[in-house]
Every structure is written in structure tokens, then in C-alpha cells.
């Protein structure tokens, strides 16, 4: 009796202490729990996906650690400071991209990395955060929805870094940067008629482009859209990942028992195609659980964005939440054969330092925007 009461009160006390600590650290408990669950799930899967490589799991945990540090630091920074720093971060990013492109030209072919001695670092990753920050900064003092002239400037702000990344060439990242920037504009209330107009123009452009394309170019586009036509080339990845997911069934083959993954039929099993490993080993239920966790994280993040009280915070927060979902959807869609294969990792689960750190840094910014909201006057 006595013991139980004591342990019960101890638990309650521990929870209270933790909540206070999180509050003091400007972290959002609900979001942290969601992120922690996804990341833990990822580590469990990674152990199997890497072929029982404990080293890989430890390195992935280290990536998470680095990401958490970035998140903690950014959560402490005041949104006003972040906003003021946005254009500078953007400029630094542009300069680094130019430098990387320049080195690439002088050096050997494609270049995405900047070797800082201790760690190699991809300037295009910065742009995933810097572009929405810059767009949100630009719109912060302007009336919404954005006027046509602001729209033109925004498009230029997005196009410059995207163009530089395309030159690297890294089409996947360029597309993600463009999507992040566009999401800010959409969340800023871009008029429906403009959205519709752009959609129609895009459709017409694609139609014209198709009509004037050579046969081999058409074939290339078709292979990109439906890779299963090229069984041993582009189609190999997607065919193997569909076999992995499909053969997993409802309950999966069991942890470390996925033959597609363990016998290496599945390419890039611990990075871009880890979603298929989950599908094979944990089945439909395992994937549903993962999607549920992601949905929870996105919902919480969107809620936090809505709670913020100025334009910069809202736009940036909303954009961060939605880009997170876009990453999930693109990766899951590509691995399950809904979308063409583009190199986008599964957020917080795929093995890879840059992506992990950038994502957690983004959530750090979101927490800063959210936890400092009462301090921002309006």
C-alpha cells in the first residue's frame, strides 16, 4: 500500500518535472513525443534494414543526437531574431551554392558537398529551411494575400536557389526547395484564380512539350512515369520494393525476416527504400502505425503553426509542417509505386545525417515560433 502510493506520486512528480523542463527548454512535449516515437521506430527498422549492423544504428542515433542539439539551440532563439536573420541566412546559402557550383566546375563534375574538415555539408540542405524563411520574412510586413508584384519577387527568390541546385545537378532537392517556397506562398493566401491559372498554364505547357518531343524523349518521360516498363533499369528498384511491400501482407514477415531486404533484392534498403522494409517485415499494420505517427506529428505541427501570432511565424510554421508531410508522401508514394522514383528520404527514418539534422532543426524553429508566441506582441 505504502509503496504503491509512493511510486504513484513519484511518477506524477517525474512527469511534472519533465513537463517543466520541456517548458523551460522551449520544447513542445506533444511534438517531442511524436518525433521520438517515429525516430525510435526508425532505429528498430534500421537495425534490420542494415543487415543487423549495430554500427549503422549507432551512427543513426548520433545523427539524431546532432539533430536534437540543433533543435534545442534553435528553440531557444527568439522568432524575432530568426526573422531578422532570415535574409542573411538566405544570402549565405546563395553564396555557398555559388561556391559549390564553382568548385564543381573547376573540380570533377557534379559537386554537392562542402568539405568543412570535420563534417561534409550540403548547402542545398540549408536552402530547404532558408527559402521558406526568406519568403515568410518577405511577406511578414506585407498585406496578405500577396499582390502580383510581391508574387513576382517571391518567384525570383525561390527560382535563384532552385536554379543553382538544378545546376549541381540535384533535381530532387531542387524540387523540394521549390515546393517549400511555394507552400509559403499558398499558405499566404494566394488567390484561387491564380492557382487555377498556373495549373492550366502548366497543363498546356506539358501538352505542348509532349507534342514537340522526339520519340526517345517521350520514351524517357514514360519510363520516368511508369518505371515498370524498364525492368532491369529504372524499374528494378520499384519492382523489387513493390514485391517487398506486397509480400509483407497484413502482418509482415517479422523483424529481420524480410527476404527481399535481407537478401538484398531491395536496393537502398536502409536509405530511400526503408519504407519497403517496414512494409515487408511489419506488414500493412506496421505501415499504418508509421503513417499514424506521421499524421500525429503533422497535425500537431499544423496546430502549433495556427497558434502562432504573426505572419512570419504562421507562414514558416505552416510551411515546415506541410513540407514534412510532403516528404513522407513523396517517399511513401515512390516506394509503393504511386509516384516516379526521386531520391527523397523517409523523414526521421531513412539513414542519413543531413536530412535528419535539417528536419529536426526545422522542428526546433517551429518550437521556437510556438513557445515564444506570447512574447511576440501584436
Amino acid at each position: 500500500m505504502y509503496e504503491e502510493v509512493t511510486s504513484g506520486s513519484r511518477t506524477r512528480r517525474t512527469l511534472t518535472v519533465t513537463a517543466r523542463m520541456l517548458f523551460a527548454l522551449k520544447l513542445d512535449g506533444a511534438l517531442v513525443i511524436g518525433l521520438a516515437l517515429v525516430a525510435a521506430y526508425g532505429l528498430v527498422v534500421l537495425y534490420s534494414a542494415s543487415g543487423q549492423s549495430l554500427g549503422t544504428v549507432i551512427r543513426a542515433a548520433a545523427h539524431i543526437g546532432m539533430g536534437v542539439v540543433a533543435m534545442l539551440l534553435l528553440a531557444q532563439v527568439s522568432p524575432n531574431f530568426l526573422r531578422r536573420m532570415s535574409p542573411w541566412l538566405y544570402l549565405v546559402g546563395i553564396v555557398l551554392l555559388v561556391v559549390v557550383d564553382g568548385i564543381g566546375h573547376i573540380g570533377m563534375g557534379a559537386q554537392r558537398w562542402l568539405d568543412l574538415g570535420l563534417l561534409r555539408f550540403q548547402p542545398s540542405e540549408i536552402m530547404k529551411l532558408a527559402v521558406p524563411m526568406m519568403c515568410a520574412w518577405f511577406l511578414h510586413d506585407r498585406a496578405l494575400p500577396p499582390s502580383l508584384s510581391s508574387l513576382a519577387i517571391l518567384i525570383a527568390l525561390i527560382f535563384v536557389p532552385v536554379g543553382l541546385v538544378v545546376l549541381q545537378p540535384d533535381l530532387g532537392t531542387a524540387a523540394l526547395i521549390a515546393i517549400a517556397g511555394s507552400l509559403v506562398i499558398l499558405m499566404a493566401g494566394l488567390q484561387v484564380r491564380i492557382i487555377a491559372g498556373v495549373a492550366v498554364l502548366g497543363g498546356l505547357g506539358a501538352w505542348f512539350g509532349w507534342a514537340f518531343m522526339h520519340d526517345y524523349q517521350k520514351k524517357r518521360v514514360l519510363t520516368f512515369l511508369d518505371p515498370s516498363t524498364d525492368r532491369l533499369g529504372a524499374g528494378y528498384h520499384i519492382i523489387q520494393s513493390q514485391i517487398a511491400i506486397g509480400s509483407g501482407g497484413v502482418f509482415g514477415k517479422g523483424w529481420m525476416h524480410g527476404s527481399q531486404a535481407q537478401l538484398q533484392f531491395l536496393p537502398e534498403r536502409s536509405t530511400d527504400f526503408i519504407f519497403a522494409v517496414i512494409g515487408e517485415e511489419f506488414g500493412f499494420l506496421g505501415l499504418a502505425l508509421l503513417l499514424l505517427l506521421y499524421a500525429y506529428v503533422v497535425t500537431r505541427a499544423l496546430y502549433m503553426a495556427v497558434q502562432t501570432q504573426d505572419t512570419y511565424a504562421r507562414l514558416l510554421g505552416g510551411c515546415l509542417a506541410l513540407t514534412f508531410f510532403v516528404y513522407v508522401f513523396i517517399n511513401a508514394g515512390m516506394v509503393s509505386g504511386l509516384l516516379p522514383v526521386v531520391g527523397v528520404p523517409l523523414p526521421l527514418v531513412s539513414y542519413g545525417g543531413s536530412s535528419m539534422v535539417t528536419l529536426l532543426a526545422g522542428f526546433g524553429i517551429l518550437m521556437s515560433l510556438y513557445s515564444h508566441r506570447k512574447l511576440v506582441g501584436s
Partner: protein, 629 residues
Amino acid sequence: MLQAVRIKDHWKEQRLFERRVLVAGCFIVVLTLALIGRLYLLQVTRHSYYTELSQGNRVRTEPIPAARGLILDRNGKLLAGNQPAYQLELVPEEVPNLNGALQGLVKLGLIEADSVEELRRTIRSRRPFDSVPVVLRMSDEDVARFAVRRFEFPGLDIKTRQTRFYPEGQLGVHALGYVGAISENDLEHIDRAAYSGTALIGKLGVESAYEKQLHGGNGYREVLVNALGRSVQGLGELAPDLRTQAPAAGKDLVLSLDTNVQRVAEQALGDHRGAVVAVNPNNGDVLALASMPEFDPSLFARGITRSEYAELTDNIDKPLLNRALRGAYPSGSTIKPVVALAGLTYHVLNPDKTEFCAGTFHLPGSTRLFREGKGGKHGWVALQDAIAKSCDVYFYGLAETLGVNRIATFLAPFGYGELTGIDISGEKPGLLPTPEWKKLAFKRPADQIWFPGETINFGVGQGYLLVTPLQLAHVAGVIAGRGANFHPRLVTGLRDANGNVKPIAPVAGKRIEGVADADWDRVINGMVGAVTYGTAHVSGKNAAYSIAGKTGTAQVFTVAQNAKYNEKTVEERLRDHAWFIAFAPVEKPRIAVAVLVENGGFGATTAAPIARQVLDAYLLDADGKLKAP
């Protein structure tokens, strides 16, 4: 400017943002549902389909080739067996650059540059995961040379495989045939699955005709493989039930051939181009089937190079030609016993009536002169002497009396102009000419007429008539059996893995009917005369058994009307072909033989001694006494 004065309405913007978040939320729900729908389709609806694919991914069936059946002679002596050898094999789907790999092998001296094209076509036509042999028999030096460079050749590996070897070398190659690499052409006729893992296939002779029995049934072994196709162990929990099926070894063939007789036949032919076929008239067993020159069958089993093959095909002596089955020559005088039988059976010939031979023959009302083949004159001859001394004039008259149609009708059941039905493929039917045949065979109306002179030539086995040595051995057998007719055969039994021999029954053809026993005796007596006092008496000397025989000389080119054939002045390859047919012992024949020596001149001088050696080899024991039957 207008825009600058637009007033920022925070409350309105808050609402706007919230609406947008709501729309975004709807998009998120729709997209997530699409994703879940897709996953449901893959994991629930199509689950069994993908399970099967994943099963196929990790389990690969490796063939276990069956041991090819052995080939034994009638006494159990090994003629074709198997021997382990190093073989270089290539798995097409594991070779990133096929052309580069083949060029690399050329540089290493493992394959010849001009065989690359053909090899590549063969490789392309195989299934991508089948192991295709590239070099069939590697010497130790080849193996060493490849081993140090192996890293340059992904997808190529040295395997130890059973290959064919022929302990007697070239002996009997035209009967045995040979095995060679499976070609693009072969692949169209065989079940590819049954031949995966097998490098060799029978190409000719018994090896080809009994391919199905010799090949047996391949077994297989299921192995767990990773994505690179490498077999993996120690991942037991990923392995489903892996099955193994042991191969069913091919059947051994028991041949009718007698190695000893075969060797004697080949040695007796020596450097001549020619053929010897010996059969048992009582059941059609082929005791010897020799065609010279020969070639080495192991060249093909180890992968013949282009230059070696060219050497064989360009050889003026045509070693690849199976003269016993495919060499078609005029029969010469060997036809006379059969024509004599025709005359007796149609009752147009009085065997005891003598005719005068002055060395030449005229058709009534014609100035055309038919000569005695060998020149000279025989004087007064009756049937027995006409056969024994091979009197052409006697048979010119008989042929004229019989006429072409009766001769052809009588000859046909003996097998002239028809396949003998031997159990290996490739034999030619020869040609039994008739006026009907001539009408169809020639284009110009002037050539379509059958001339009376052609009947005269036909009666002594010249002109259009063509026979193969196998056919004449068969004819000799039919005479020996007094009309008993058996299809020649090389394989008399199949031996299974337990050593039980399942005999194959002899195949009887249609018996020659309507010939009186006395007429058989008369003709056979003529043939006995040929070997005792007639054309071939030298070859019949001191025989421990009785022999019946008949010489023949097949004209290679026609001697001009007023010219005389002089053997010495005619260039060797234009000389006549020499024939001899015989059987023995006459009372109860055990062997019938036909010998052909290309450009051998007269049958008696070159062909008959060879036949005598073959008869001796089969009938006599080591002490020179007649063996018990």
C-alpha cells in the same frame, strides 16, 4: 504604390491562414487515404501474387546434369565414356560487358578471335541465368592462365564437368558420331529446361540418334540466393522448403559393333578412301561400319576451333563424309547376282545354257558397241561362270531380255533406291533408275526418254544406278539369308544404371518372295565360284570356311566408244571405284560385308582382300580356326 498603402489586417489574415490550413488538412487526408489504398492493394489484394514473386526471387533452381550414358560394343568394350574436365562457363546476366569479356578471353588465348561472333550468338540465345560453356575442355595451363585474371571476368567461372571421351580415338567415328557444344540450331529442337547445365549434345551417328536415351533426365537443386545470384547459407530462417531432385542417369547403349572387326576393317582400308560395312544377315546387326578417312571425335567434345574445322571441311579426302551411309556410287558388277536371280525368277534365263562372249556386245539394229568391262573375252559361259568371271556380255544379253522395268521391279525389294532403315540418321537412298524416274528427273524432253542402251548398262550396274556401301552390305545379307531381310541396326540393347540390359528386338523387313531355292543356290554357287576360281580367287585362297562373293567396278567416267580404259594413264581420282560384296560361311551365313574403295580400280585387287580380312577377323579365333557360332 497602391499596394504600399494596403493595410495589414491581422485578424483577417489569421482567418485566411486558418482556412488554408483546413484546405491543406483536407489534401493531407485525401493523399494519405490514397497511400493507404495503394498499400491495401499491394499488401492485401495482391499479397499472394507478390509472395510468389518474392519466393521466386530468393530460390533459384540449379540443374544437376545427368551423367551421359556410355556406349559399349557387342562384347562390352567401352567406346564412349565420360571424363571430368575443367570447363569455362559464363552466366550471361552476370556479365556486365559481354563483348569485352569475350575479347579478354581472346587475348588470353582461350578462344579464337573468329569464333567470338558465333559464341556470342549462342550465349544470347540461352536463358540469361543459364550457365553457358565457353571453353569446353581446358588444359591445366589454360586454367592457370585464367585463374590469375579471374577478377577481370565477373560472371565467368571454371567448373568441373563431365565431358565425353572416346577411349578408342577415331575408331568407328562414323558409326558412333560425336558430341559437341549445344548450338543455336540445336536449341530449337530440344527442351531447354532439360538441357540447362548440360554443355554437350550428340551431333551425329549413335550419339545423335540415341540422344534422348543417352541424355537421361537432369536433376535439380533449389538454393537460396541473394540479389547477386550468389548462393547463401546460414540464413536458414529465410529458407522455405528447398527441394532436390536427383538426376536420372542416361542409358548405356550396347552396340552391335565388334571393336575388333571394326579395327581390322579400318586398318585394311588404310590410306584408301572408302568404306566397309559388315552385317549379320540373321538379324541386321551391324558388325562393322567404317568410312575412311576418319576424324577425331574428341575435337568436337572439347570445342573444335574454326581452323581445325576448316581443315576438316577443306580436306580433299572429305573425312567428315560418312561414305558408308552417304557415299552413293554405281554398283558395278555386284548387281549381277541379283540380275541373275531376276532372270531366273522371270524364267527368261536357262542357267545351264552357254552364251558366247567375244568381248563385245551389239544391240540388235544398233551400231553402238558395249565392251567387256575389263577387256578380254570369256568364250562359252553358262550362268555360274558368268557370275564367277563377271562376264559383262552375258549380262548385257540378259538385261536386254529382261528389260528395265522387270530389273527395277525385282531389285526394289532388295533395298536398292531406298533407305535401309538403319537406326542412325543421315543415310542416302541411292538411286534405282526407271523410265518413270527419268521422265521426272530431266528437263529437256530429249533427255526424258529411256534408251535401250541404258538398260544394257543397268544390267551390269553402271549408268544411273547409285548405291551406298550400307545398301550393298544389306543386299549381300539378303542374298546370304536367301531372302531374309533385316533392317541394319547399331544398337541392340539399353543398359540401365543397375546393369540390366534391355534388348532391342531386330526389325525384320519384307522377305523376298517368289525366288525358288534352286535359283538361290545357282546364284550363290556363282558367287562361291567368284572366290574359288573366278575374279576374286586370290582373296579366297586358304579360307577356313566357305565364302560367296562378287567383285564390282564402278565407272567414274565413261570411256569413249573406241577407246580402251587404261588404269595407269587415268589420273588417280578418275580411276574406277572398286567394290566387293561377300558373305560367309555359305552354308550358314554369319556375316555379310560390302567393301568400297574409292578409285581403287578393280574390285578384285583392292576391295576383295579387305573383305577377306574382315571375314577372318569375325569368324576365326586366335588360332585361325572357325569360331563356334
